[in-house]
């Protein structure tokens, strides 16, 4: 079980690094998109509030939850390989 624990811990560390980087990147992309939208459409009022409202909306969006696939896909793949190779 020790070998498995080692693999799991290493995998979790790597995947967490990927997850955090991807989250930050995705959020920055969304922020840039909101700012561009503001500039191009020439909206009136508080730009910062507009961007912030857009980001709050992003925080509860499906797109952000999809980043969890970073964990789900590799772990699912390992589970599938274990099943398909050893128990079929």
């Amino acid at each position: 079980m020790l070998a498995f624990a080692r693999l799991f811990v290493m995998l979790m560390i790597v995947l967490t690094v990927v997850y955090v980087s991807l989250s930050l990147y995705s959020r920055a992309q969304r922020r840039a998109k909101l700012e561009r939208e503001w500039d191009e459409e020439g909206l009136e009022g508080d730009k910062r509030a507009f961007v912030k409202a857009g980001l709050v909306e992003y925080d509860s969006s499906l797109r952000r939850k999809l980043i969890l696939g970073v964990y789900i896909v590799p772990l699912g793949l390992i589970g599938f390989i274990v099943y398909a190779l050893n128990f079929q």
Binding site: M1, A3, F4, R6, L7, I78, I81, V82, L85, N86, F87
Partner: protein
Amino acid sequence: MPLYVKGILWVCYLGGTFLLSGALVGAGFWRWVLWGGVGVLPVLLYSDYLKWVFWGFAWASFAAFLHYTLPQIDIVRVTDTYSKRIDFGENSIFWASEDVGTAASMSRDIFFIQGFRPNGRPVIYRNEDTGWGWPPYFKINTANLQAEANNLLSTEAAPRWVAIKHYGWRNEFLTIFPNAVSVRPVDGPDADRIPRTTIAILVVLAALIWAVWVRWRRFKAQRLDPALAGMDAALDQKRDGVSRWINSWRGKPRR
């Protein structure tokens, strides 16, 4: 600078870094690693011809690694299964891991599966767990696989053809064997042996490498090259002898 002076300087650099890395980490494996990184690698990267040698070698190693690791399928007639004690020596890197849950050691009884190809050549596979280690087959059913292989034994007079999926190489000089991953009976010696998994992995890998390559090229053109050109211009303006001296070490003419 005349070519022979450059050559002497490179040799001095190589020798110096060799001695230095020996002094730092002592003789042994890590000395070669350190010397490779600090001594040999810059020499290879700085010279135009050797750069190609270096990258050719790197890609060839990568291809060999993939050829070793990815699954292939053989159609064989299994003639015997047995187990044999192996004491791992200098070939120890070519053996996988102990059965999951059992203790690691430098000596183990290992299952083998031997058979013949349709062309009459013998093939011998080892049958080992890969467990949770490399390569990531997560194979933990070694004993079951041995039973299945044993169940498919046949003779030359009444052959039963079997598709054996495996990875690894057979090499007589190192006494290494491919590791069998699965067996299944097939209709005949001409049965389909297209390695679908391997093809899928190679396609995904090629797409990944291409994606990284394209982004790197774009990043280099937009960010790196202007910055380097700026540094170069600044150095030129200073009329600093150092930049000319560094450039004289490169094969390329100065821009």
